[in-house]
Amino acid sequence: MADTKYSWPASHQAQLIGKRVDRLDGLVKSTGAAKYTYDLNLDKQLIVRALGCPFAHCRVVSVDTSEAEKVPGVVVVHLINAPKEDGPVEIQAQGTLIAAVAAETEAAAAEACAKLKVAYEELDVFVDDHDLAAAEAAKRTKAAGGGIELDEALGEPGDDDDESEWEDKMIQRLLVESKYVVEGRYGIDAITHCCLEPHGSTLQWEGNKLKVHLSTQNVSQCDDGFAAALGITADEVDVHCDYIGGGFGSKFQPNYWGIAAAEIAKKAGRPVKFMLTREQELQIAGNRPSGYIDVKLGADENGVVKVWDSHHWGTSGFNGSTVSVGTVPYVYKPKNIRRRATGVVTNNEPSVAWRAPNHPQACLLTQTAYDDLAAKMQADSFDIFLRNLENIDTPEKASVYAEEMRIAAELIQWRKYWHPHGKGHKRGSVVDGLGIGIHKWGGTANTSSCLLRIHPDGGVESYCGTQDLGTGTRTVCAMVVAETLGLPVDAVKVNIGSSTYPFSGASGGSTTVGAVSESHRRAAQDAIAQIFEKVAAKLDVPADQLEAIGGKIQAKGYGDKAMPWKQACSLIGIRPLEVTSNYQRGTASPLSNEGVAGVQMAHVAVDTDTGEVKIKRMVAVQDIGLIINRKTAESQVYGAMIMSIAAAIFEQRINDPKTGAFLNSELDAYRLPRLGDTGELVVHFHEPESERSRGVIGLGEPPAISGIAAISNAVCNATGVRVPTVPMTPKRVLDALRAAKANA
C-alpha cells in the first residue's frame, strides 16, 4: 500500500526487535540435523574429485586419462583445464583444476585423480609479494593508482613550476617542518577464506532443468551464473541453499567447478556431488590480498598528523592488484596526503572479497604508523588516536568515535593498564600492553523482496531468496514479521535459500540484515494495514488507531476493543492474503541506513623470550543503528574479533619461494586460533537513540577490521618494538626484538 509509513517501533514498545532471541535453526544445527550442500545425498549420486595442478605456473601439455578410467567405480573423466586444439593451457596458480573424475565412491574418484597422467611444462614462478624490489626486477608489478591532496593553504604551483616537482617539494617541506616524523614499513600477509564447508555443489538434471544445491551466499543470482555458462535460461535453473558452512565473501558464484559439476551430471545422466578438497579450498577458492607499505608521516607538537606520504603494494594473485589505493590512509585523513599503490603479480589464485574488502589491511597499514607516532612521542596512544579525530574522512563521525573510544577504554581499563610503549612491568619474560584501532563501514541494505502469505486460519509464512550465512538471517526475518504482526517469533514460518523465491541480493558487504529487515517489515506492514482495514469495521475503530500486539488486533491503548489474531485473519476471506514488498538498494528509507564507526582495543601479553603473543582481553565497541537480534549480533562481533586474532597472530598463506607451492594448504599447517587462544572478549553496542533511530545498518564487516591493528599496537605497547608484519608469529616477534636490540 503506497501510503504505508514504514517505521520501527520505539524501543520501549518493541516486543522482539532488539531482544535476545535464540536462532530459529539453532537446534537443527547443534543436533547435526541441518543439511548443508555437502550433506545432501541424492539418489544414485556420483562423487566428483578433481585433480589440482601441482605447479604454480606451467603449461598443461597433455592429459592422459586412460589409467584413471580403469579405476573400478569410475564413471566419467571430465577435462577442465586441458589443452584444446589451439595448444597447451597456461596455469598461473597451484591447485587450478585440470580434470575431474566422477565415481561411485569418493575414494575411487580420488584414486583416479591420482592416476591422471598430465604432462606439464614448468614456467617461471614469482610469489615474493612482500619484496617490491624483487617484484620490480622480475617485471611483476603493475601501477595501481595514487594521487596527492594538499591543503589549499599551501597555495598553487607557480606558472613556471613543474606540478609534480612542486608537490614533491611541498610534501618534503611539510615533513621537514613536522615536529615528529615517523617512517615505517608495515605489512599484512595474504590469508585464505578457508570455509569449513568447502565450495561445491550437489546437483542433478531433471530433463532440461538443473536443480542445484549450492554452498552459496548468493542464492538469487547463481541461477543466472549457471544458465549463462550452460547455455540455458535462468528459469531452467533452481539454486537452493538451506545452510552454508561459511562464505566470508568467497561464495558469490557457481565457479567453474560448479559448471563442471553440471556438465558431468549431464554426461553421466546421474546426480553428482562435487565439493573441493581442503587443499583446493585453500588454494583456489578464495584469498584476501596482502598489503605492505612504506610510509612517512609528519605530525605537530600535539601529535596531530599533518602530512602522510606512502607507497603500498601487495598481491591479489596473478591478476596483480593490491589493497585499493583510496582506502589508505584509513579513517584518518591528514590535510596533506600523497599515496601510491603497486600491484604485484604472483602465481596465486586471484583474490575474492573477504569480510570488509580492503579495510582490515588499510587499517593495519595506517594505524600502526599512527601508533608508532605515539611511541615516538612516548605519548598515550589513546590521546593520539583521539586528537587525530580532527582529520578523518568521515568528520560527521568524530564525536561517535570519541564516545566509543571512551567506552572501550573503560571496558578494557585503559587507565589502569596503560604504560608508555616498552615501559611496562615485566614479570619473568612477559610484558603486557594495550592497543587501539578504529574503523568504518557502509552497511547499506541490499535489494530484497519478500512475499508474505497470511492464511485465513492465522498461519503466516514468508518467502525470500536470501540465505543465512550463520548471521541469523532466518531469525531476523521471523522477528521482523512477528513484531509487525504482534505474534510470537515461532508463529512465522520463514522460507529462504531458494532462487525460486522472490529476489534478494547477495549476502556480502553487511547488506543482508538491512535487506531482509526492509523487505519483511514492508511486507508485514503492508499486510497488517490490510487486516487493520477489515478489523476496523468490526471493532468500529479507525484503521489508523489499531495496533497488532500480543496476538491480538486492538485499539491503541484500549485493550477492551480487541480481536484475536485468528479471528482477524478469518476476515481475509477464503484465499490467503498475499503481499509482496520490496526494497531497492540505495533508496532512502526510515528503516535502514548506512555508515558506522567502531573502535576496538586489545590487551595482550607477550613472552619476549619465545615471541608468543596471547590475547588477554579484547573489547569491541560498535554502533550499528537499530539492532534486530541482540544475541546473534553479539555473536557476529565475537566471530569478527576472533578472525582479527587469527589474522594478527596466526594465519598466513605460505608460498614456497622457489616453486610457488602453497605449503600450508592443509589445516595441520594453516594455523587458525583455537578455543584456548582467544582470551576474554567483550562486545558493547553503542546505541543511543541517535544511533537507534537511524534504522538497521549492516554489522558483518565493521568489527572484522580494526582488531588486527589494535593487537599489533598492543604488542608494540608491550615490547616497545614494532613487529612490522602480521601475523605476529613467534619468529617475527623474536626477529623484531632482536633487530631492535641490534639497533639500540
Binding site: E612, R617, G676, E680, K731
Partner: protein, 340 residues
C-alpha cells in the same frame, strides 16, 4: 587413498606374520590419527594395513615386579594420562595435557605418537622424506625445520611430542618381529635415526617389525618436566620442546638428562646441557646456562635461527618447572586480564 588389504590380528605373532608377508608394503594402524591422513594424501600407500588396536596384550598398561611400567602399543594417550603409574612422571603428563585435544588424546596411542611421521611440509606435500636430498628445504621455506643434526640430507624435525619426555626418563621400547620369536628391547632414542637416503626411514624398524610396548623405568625419585614452545594451543606441532629428568640432592644437581624435541631429525639428547648442571646448585642462572649449552653445534637454515633461542628457553623452563620454580611465562589459556 588406494585400497589395501585390511587385517585385524588378535595376537602379536599374527600381527608380525601379517606385516612380514606384506612384501615390504604394510603399515601398522593403531589410533589412525596420523597414518590415515597420510594415506589420503597418497604420501603413504600401503598394500596392507594391520590394525593392532584389538590385540589384548597391547591394550594394557602393566607394572612388572621391578616396578617398570609397560605401555602397550594400543594404549591411548588419555589412558596414559590417567594411569596412576604415571604420577611419578610429570614430564609425560604435562606433554599429554599440552596436546589439549580430547579427541587426539583419546584416539591417538602413545606408541603411535612416538612413530608419527614428520610434519615437514615438503614430505606431507609428496616430495619425499628428504625432499630432493634436502635441497627443497634449504632453498625453500624452512622456518620449522631442523637446527641440529641437519648437515645431511634430512632437514625435517622429529615430530613426536612425547619422545623427549620418555627419553629423558630412560624409556625403552620392545620391538617384535620380523619372526614370531624375534624380540628386542632397545632404548627409545635408539629407535630413531637420521635417514641418509630415500630408502631409509626416520626409525630403525625393519619390515615385519612392530613396536609392541614402551617401558618407563621405575620411579627413581627424579624430578622431571617438559616444556613446549607453541604457536597457539592445541594439537598442532610445537616450535621447540624440551624435557628434563634430573636427580637433585639438597639443591644440587647430581644427574640429569635433557632432551630436545622439534629441532632435529631425531629427538636430540643435549648432553652438554646435562653436564653443565652436574654438581651445581639449581638456580635460574644454571637453568639458563643449560639452555645455552643445549644447542651447541646448531646450524640454522636460512629461516629458522629463532628456533635456537626457542630451544634454549624450552630447556631452561623445563628445568625450572621440574624444580618447581617459576618459569616466568604466560599462563596458558588465559581467560582474564588479571592473570599475569
Amino acid at each position: 587413498m588406494n585400497n589395501f588389504e585390511y587385517a585385524q590380528p588378535q595376537t602379536i605373532p599374527e600381527a608380525i606374520e601379517l606385516l612380514a608377508t606384506a612384501d615390504n608394503n604394510a603399515v601398522v594402524l593403531a589410533g589412525g590419527t596420523d597414518v590415515i591422513g597420510l594415506m589420503k594424501r597418497f604420501v603413504v600407500n600401503p598394500d596392507r594395513v594391520v590394525n593392532i588396536a584389538e590385540i589384548p596384550e597391547l591394550q594394557r598398561i602393566t607394572t612388572d615386579d621391578t616396578g617398570n611400567t609397560w605401555i602397550g602399543a594400543a594404549v591411548h594417550l588419555d589412558q596414559v594420562l590417567d594411569s596412576r603409574s604415571m604420577n611419578a612422571f610429570p614430564a609425560i603428563k604435562q606433554t599429554i595435557q599440552g596436546i589439549s585435544s580430547i579427541q587426539l588424546q583419546c584416539q591417538g596411542t602413545l606408541v603411535g605418537e612416538l612413530l608419527r611421521r614428520p610434519n615437514c611440509w615438503y614430505f606431507r606435500n609428496g616430495h619425499g622424506l628428504l625432499a630432493d636430498s634436502g635441497r627443497m628445504v634449504v632453498h625453500g621455506d624452512n622456518r620449522f625445520h631442523a637446527i641440529l643434526g641437519n648437515r645431511g640430507a634430512a632437514k625435517f624435525v622429529n615430530p613426536s611430542r612425547l619422545a623427549p619426555a620418555l627419553i629423558s626418563l630412560g624409556a625403552k621400547v620392545r620391538i617384535a618381529g620380523p619372526t614370531a620369536d624375534d624380540e628386542r628391547i632397545i632404548d627409545l632414542e635408539a629407535l630413531y635415526r637420521t635417514p641418509r637416503s630415500d630408502r631409509e626411514m626416520e626409525n630403525v624398524l625393519e619390515p615385519g617389525q612392530l613396536v609392541t610396548h614402551v617401558m618407563v623405568p621405575r620411579d627413581a625419585g627424579h624430578l622431571s618436566a617438559a616444556y613446549e614452545v607453541r604457536h597457539g594451543e592445541g594439537p598442532d606441532a610445537p616450535l621447540a620442546a624440551a624435557a628434563v629428568s634430573m636427580s637433585v640432592v639438597r639443591g644440587v644437581v647430581r644427574g640429569a638428562k635433557v632432551v630436545l624435541g622439534q629441532v632435529a631429525p631425531t629427538p636430540w639428547i643435549a648432553a652438554g646441557a646435562a653436564n653443565a648442571m652436574l654438581g651445581l646448585p639449581l638456580s635460574e642462572e644454571l637453568a639458563a646456562r643449560a639452555g645455552m649449552e643445549s644447542t651447541a653445534g646448531a646450524m640454522p637454515l636460512s629461516q629458522n635461527e629463532y628456533k635456537i633461542q626457542l630451544a634454549q628457553v624450552a630447556v631452561k623452563r623445563a628445568i625450572l618447572r621440574a624444580a618447581g620454580l617459576d618459569t616466568g611465562d604466560i599462563p596458558s589459556c588465559m581467560a582474564s586480564a588479571e592473570l599475569i
